[in-house]
């Protein structure tokens, strides 16, 4: 994994027209998806097929129809399904642990099960436990660890074989604010600095915005929306949202007098359209100075990821 990611790198996962049904329930409907290298968020309402997709990416189920290449392996054959698990790391959402073993033994055993030699597995286990921030506790039984440490253990065991693709399912669930921050820092590091491909499954949109570049939205077994977060949340034209302090009324008058198109917003801020006049906010500062107002915050108006998600899920219903 020494190559840096580039936009011309191959997609880690390529899926075309995948079908999977459980009895009469069609869990995946003609799903087509290409996962570019790097961190991607996976969103979707409950029951949209995320769990089924994850099982497919882990080689735990055989597709009914369609074509898929996951980390170079073919999940339609039994050997392919076993092989791809060597290149995929999974951090489950639910509590999971191996009974009766220390944290170090757990990571080391799982490493050996993935194909590392015993010696490699032990040294590697130490490395990943260092990375996630577990110290002497690694020599204690994992059953006795705190919730935050158990969560980090889950990440460590997913990393022990240095997979190219990591599946992280609700990685911050149950963590307190400090733990969440630490976990998100680690995930950000893995995705942006270590250039791992990540698929981050979460209901917490700010987590995804913080750590992912791309996003895939599933609905009813198919992809409703996919793309880069930056592109999807971009809006037409340059608009800024400002929070005004001081003499707000005079400032708004000055804006109107200068011909700026403004829209007041819910939380007391003002959205101002800039394009054609200027590409930055210097002129706004001049107006504020003359009106006895101050600008407490200026941010580019973008759609929120939540709006993108809601729109994406709604669209599917109409088609």
């Amino acid at each position: 994994m020494a190559e840096a990611s580039s936009s011309t790198a191959e997609a880690v996962v390529v899926i075309r027209g995948l079908e999977k049904s459980y009895g009469s329930v069609r869990a995946l409907r003609s799903l087509s998806l290409e996962l570019a290298p790097g961190p991607t968020g996976l969103l979707g309402p409950n029951g949209a097929g995320k769990t089924t997709l994850i099982k497919l990416l882990l080689g735990l189920l055989r597709p009914d129809a369609g074509h898929a290449t996951i980390a170079g392996c073919d999940p339609t054959t039994a050997s392919g399904r076993l092989a791809l698990r060597r290149s995929v790391g999974y951090m489950p959402e639910n509590e999971c642990s191996i009974p009766g073993l220390t944290g170090l033994e757990i990571v080391s055993t799982l490493g050996q099960l993935t194909g590392l030699t015993r010696a490699d597995s032990l040294s590697r286990a130490h490395e990943v436990l260092d990375y996630v921030g577990i110290d002497e506790a690694r020599y204690r039984l994992a059953d006795e660890w705190s919730a935050g440490m158990k969560q980090r253990l889950k990440l460590a065991q997913a990393l022990v074989h240095d997979p190219g693709l990591l599946l992280l399912d609700e990685p911050t669930s149950g963590l307190d604010p400090k733990g969440r921050r630490h976990m998100l820092d680690l995930i950000h590091d893995l995705g942006h600095v270590q250039h791992k491909s990540l698929l981050l499954c979460s209901h917490l949109l700010p987590d995804i915005e913080r750590t992912c570049r791309d996003v895939v939205v599933l609905k009813e077994g198919a992809v409703a929306l996919a793309g880069g977060i930056a592109e999807l949340t971009r809006t037409d034209g340059i608009r800024v949202r400002v929070e005004v302090g001081g003499d707000r009324a005079r400032f708004e008058q000055a804006l109107a007098a200068s011909g700026y198109a403004c829209t007041p917003e819910v939380n007391g801020r003002i959205a101002i359209r800039l394009d054609g006049r200027a590409s930055d906010a210097d002129e706004l500062f001049a107006l504020a100075a003359d009106s006895g107002a101050s600008l407490r915050s200026i941010e580019e108006v973008r759609s929120s990821l939540e709006q993108v998600f809601v729109a994406g899920v709604a669209n599917e219903e109409r088609t």
Partner: protein
């Protein structure tokens, strides 16, 4: 407490092979997990260990006496040797001893297999370990093979080891290794029977373990299985005055097989040993059918 992450992630530069015997790591881990708590080991293996020592001594004493009484300086049998001769006359032959040892220890050996086997799959299900295992290139058979090896290991220690120890003592105690010449086949037969015993009961224990979420429930269920089948078989045999009803009990069938393999006394069991093999085979097959079905579900829920 969470700390700022200052460690740099290091990529793995080793090789990641497809090892067909990879599941052995799981067996090793199972043994390591079970041996962490020393108290159960002492309680469960203590009595069989003590019994092994006692029986070995009896064997040794018998051969020592056969080699001749030590002449006393006073020119007559010493009081100690007279007591020993009397004791020796009560002694039975080595092969019968191994058989009797097994009978005497059967409850303990069952306890050992139950204790170490009951939680093997139940605890995995309860703690969600299957979520971690099946995300690895580990097949269902690999998983089961590893679990089976773990329970076989402990069952083996409980049954094969004592028998082997007694045989080894007999070998060295007998003059010119006469034991090896006369009864040498007893050694492989002991090993074979022990392995069969551990394998059959281990399979049953694993199957029971796969049906429950808690180790204690699995233990209760296994004792229930053992006692109910034995009780019913004995009661029916007595009521109907027909010893063949004893074949309902797995324990009784194993005793019949033990008697046949180790040339022990047949006690109440006079039916054809092939029946017993059939019953044992059937039960083992049923256990493995249950195991494969349960592990299949386990993998699907991963």
């Amino acid at each position: 407490m969470a700390r700022t992450n200052t460690e740099v992630y290091r990529p793995f530069r080793g090789t990641l092979g497809a090892r067909t015997l990879g599941f052995l790591a799981l067996a090793r881990a199972g043994i390591a997990a079970a041996t962490k708590r020393k108290l159960p080991l002492v309680i469960l293996f203590g009595p069989p260990a003590i019994a092994t020592v006692i029986f070995s001594f009896v064997v040794y004493a018998r051969f020592a006496l056969e080699a001749g009484v030590t002449p006393s300086p006073l020119g007559g049998p010493s009081p100690a040797s007279m007591i020993a001769v009397g004791f020796a006359k009560q002694m039975i032959q080595v092969r019968e001893e191994i058989f009797m040892f097994h009978l005497a220890m059967s409850l303990f050996t069952l306890l050992v297999i139950a204790w170490f086997g009951a939680g093997l799959i139940a605890d995995d299900r309860r703690l969600g370990a299957h979520l971690l295992y099946f995300a690895r290139p580990l097949s269902r058979s690999g998983y089961l093979a590893a679990k089976f090896l773990t329970v076989l290991f402990f069952g083996g220690i409980a049954v094969v080891a004592p028998g082997l120890v007694i045989c080894i003592v007999a070998t060295f105690a007998s003059p010119d290794f006469a034991f090896l010449r006369d009864e040498g086949s007893l050694i492989p037969r002991t090993i074979l029977f022990g392995t069969l015993w551990a394998g059959v009961w281990g399979s049953v224990m694993l199957a029971i373990s796969s049906l429950f979420l808690r180790k204690t429930l699995a233990l209760v269920a296994s004792f229930a299985f053992f006692m109910i089948t034995t009780a019913i078989s004995v009661v029916l045999a007595n009521l109907q005055q027909d010893d063949r009803f004893l074949m309902l009990s797995l324990q009784m069938n194993m005793q019949r097989i033990a008697g046949w393999m180790l040339d022990g006394p047949s006690m109440r069991m006079h039916w054809d040993v092939r029946w017993s093999f059939a019953v044992v085979l059937g039960i083992t097959a049923a256990a493995w059918a249950i195991l494969f079905a349960r592990v299949r579900r386990l993998e699907a829920s991963a």
